[in-house]
């Protein structure tokens, strides 16, 4: 077995090296692919806090991914058409500033996660999965019918949004921005896992009645985890929209929710770098197998099956064995 920290380090360095190599070889498309992987990884790092640490199998995380996307789309759309987002009760203007867009995306996601969490956490198991799925479909169909923002066709943004001090149109600079955010999220996730909150959440996933009998509220722990999780996935959604300069209802689709879960299962549930490994693997397969056949998902399915049957800890579990206990 390889120490988990070493695996993580190699993954991180590799994720940085590939686009730098692509830069040297003048292959901007590879940089875009790497950026896509990084953004997916960020979305999955978010879900991992709910699913891995909290045991909340949310099949509705596309809601936050999509909300992040639409927060970007709507704000940028109004900025490029010079129309206000709202005039009442006070004037809200559109914006092309990434930090502002991110903040809006995260706040909207937090609010949605709070409401969805409050309602869904009354249930457990398969009912929780179904309720989160239902919320996802609600948002999906709402987006489709929201003609003002493109309905089924989605919204195109002509120029990527701005970040102070960077030219985000240069692929490697936008990659660097996304990579930095992923690192920040990973760092936060690592701290969270060891924190008092992480300890209590981890116990709430395993034995809620024990958590209750020491005087803590397992529901509230899970709700907070769900909100944190939604916020990070929402941020990823805003970046994803900026990467494509396009948002559409598919960001809200249940396939999207499923893909984020698949990243985590491929890489390793509740493992710090599980979501990263899973997302990288997914994007790599999508690129190479997708070039071979339109039906590349068959191979993805086979791989997923093999992992679920023979490597429950995902790729990280395969390489590094069982998670070490904190000491």
């Amino acid at each position: 077995m390889i120490p988990e920290r070493l695996v993580n380090l190699v993954v991180l360095v590799g994720l940085l090296a590939v686009p730098l190599w692509a830069l040297a070889m003048d292959e901007p498309f590879t940089i875009t692919l790497a950026t896509r992987a990084v953004i997916f990884a960020l979305a999955a790092v978010g879900l991992n806090i709910a699913l891995g640490f909290g045991g909340l199998v949310s099949l509705g995380h596309a809601v936050f991914f999509g909300l992040g996307g639409y927060a970007m789309g709507i704000l940028a759309h109004h900025a490029q058409t010079y129309t206000p987002v709202a005039e009442w009760p006070f004037l809200i203007e559109g914006t092309k500033s990434m930090p502002v867009i991110w903040l809006v995306a995260m706040c909207v996601s937090a609010l949605a996660a709070l409401v969805i969490g409050l309602l869904s956490l009354r249930t457990t198991g398969v009912y929780f999965i179904m309720i989160t799925l239902a919320f996802g479909q609600m948002f999906y169909y709402f987006a489709i019918s929201w003609a003002e923002y493109g309905g089924e066709d989605g919204l195109s943004i002509y120029v990527r949004n701005d970040f102070p001090g960077l030219n985000t149109l240069v692929p490697i600079q936008f990659f660097g921005l996304c990579f930095a955010l992923l690192c920040a999220a990973l760092l936060f996730s690592a701290f969270l896992a060891r924190s008092p909150f992480g300890l209590a959440l981890n116990a709430a996933r395993q034995v809620p009645q024990r958590v209750e009998t020491v005087g803590l509220n397992p529901m509230r722990l899970k709700l907070v985890a769900f909100v944190i999780s939604g916020v990070i996935t929402g941020l990823a959604g805003a970046l994803f929209a900026d990467l494509n300069r396009f948002v559409s209802p598919t960001m809200f689709s249940w396939q999207m929710s499923g893909e984020i879960i698949i990243f985590i299962i491929l890489g390793g549930v509740a493992r710090l770098f599980g979501p990263v490994v899973g997302a990288v693997l997914f994007v790599t397969l999508e690129h190479f197998l997708g070039g071979l056949s339109e039906y590349w998902h068959i191979y993805l399915g086979a791989l997923l099956l093999v992992i679920v049957l023979f490597a429950r800890g995902g790729v990280i579990g395969l390489l590094a064995g069982r998670a070490r206990l904190h000491d």
Binding site: F191, R194, F197, L199, N202, Q209, V214, G215, D327
Partner: protein
């Protein structure tokens, strides 16, 4: 009488036609071990669930330190000073022994809302957890995964988690269950000393332990308390003999 730490008054709970708890009034006084015994199906678990939260009685009251907690959820009773151990160990099996004890300490502080500093790096919290493990004799095992503990060690950890809460009263659901003779003896002598810290309501099948420890014993049969008294009174009671202890006793 009014200085009882924990009181149930006329507690009743039925499931359909079955009266699982029938007009049960018992109390737990400072410094005592009050044992509740009874044959299988006597309603001991149902009684505990109503005392600790989880089941709401059909009628009657549960009072903890003068506060009516009949309707309160388990976590509020825990906050008010009630610590329980489970008959079947309810521990976070994937976590270390120390982490389980730490959970109790976090519960006692009531503030798990810290997201960045490592829990096990908090000297004050860690000491409280290690201290509890030390007391039950698990100090050596603190870095082990809980799933790897023996059955007896899990029972010890159950007690350690309860200790971390610094409770005003303990409710222990068959803490001796599945312990060997040696383990039972050790736990018996530990509980003997513990009663001076906080009284213990002890539900137990192990009669040797009950007769060695209990200041008072209540005998539960078909949901009713048929007798409450000292060990000598219980031994002498004809009603108890008939209903429960049978001939060999």
């Amino acid at each position: 009488m009014t200085d009882a730490v924990l009181t149930t008054t006329g507690l009743s709970k039925s499931f359909g036609a079955l009266k699982a708890t029938d007009d049960v009034s018992i109390d737990l006084r400072p410094g005592e071990i009050h044992a509740v015994i009874g044959p299988n199906g006597a309603g001991k678990s149902t009684l505990i669930a109503q005392i600790c939260g989880g089941l709401v009685p059909d009628s009657g009251r549960v009072t903890l330190l003068g506060r009516d907690v009949t309707q309160a959820p388990a976590r509020l009773r825990a906050q008010a000073g009630l610590a329980r151990t489970f008959q079947i160990s309810a521990l976070a099996m994937e976590d270390s022994v120390l982490q389980n004890a730490m959970l109790g300490v976090l519960g006692a502080t009531g503030r798990p809302w810290s997201f960045l500093r490592p829990a096990l790096g908090r000297r004050d919290l860690r000491e409280a957890a290690e201290n509890a493990l030390e007391r039950v004799g698990l100090a050596e095992a603190r870095a082990m995964r809980t799933a790897e503990l023996s059955h007896g060690q899990r029972r010890q950890l159950e007690v350690a988690v309860a200790l971390t809460l610094n409770p005003r009263a303990f409710v222990m659901d068959e803490p001796m269950a599945g312990l060997g003779a040696e383990g039972s003896k050790r736990l018996t002598s530990f509980l003997d000393g513990l009663r001076s810290e906080a009284p213990i309501l002890l539900v137990e099948h192990d009669m040797d332990a009950v007769f060695a420890l209990a200041d008072r014993v209540s005998v539960l049969v078909y949901g009713r308390v048929i007798e409450t008294g000292t060990v000598a009174q219980i031994r002498a009671s004809q009603a108890v003999r008939d209903a429960y202890l049978g001939d060999p006793a």
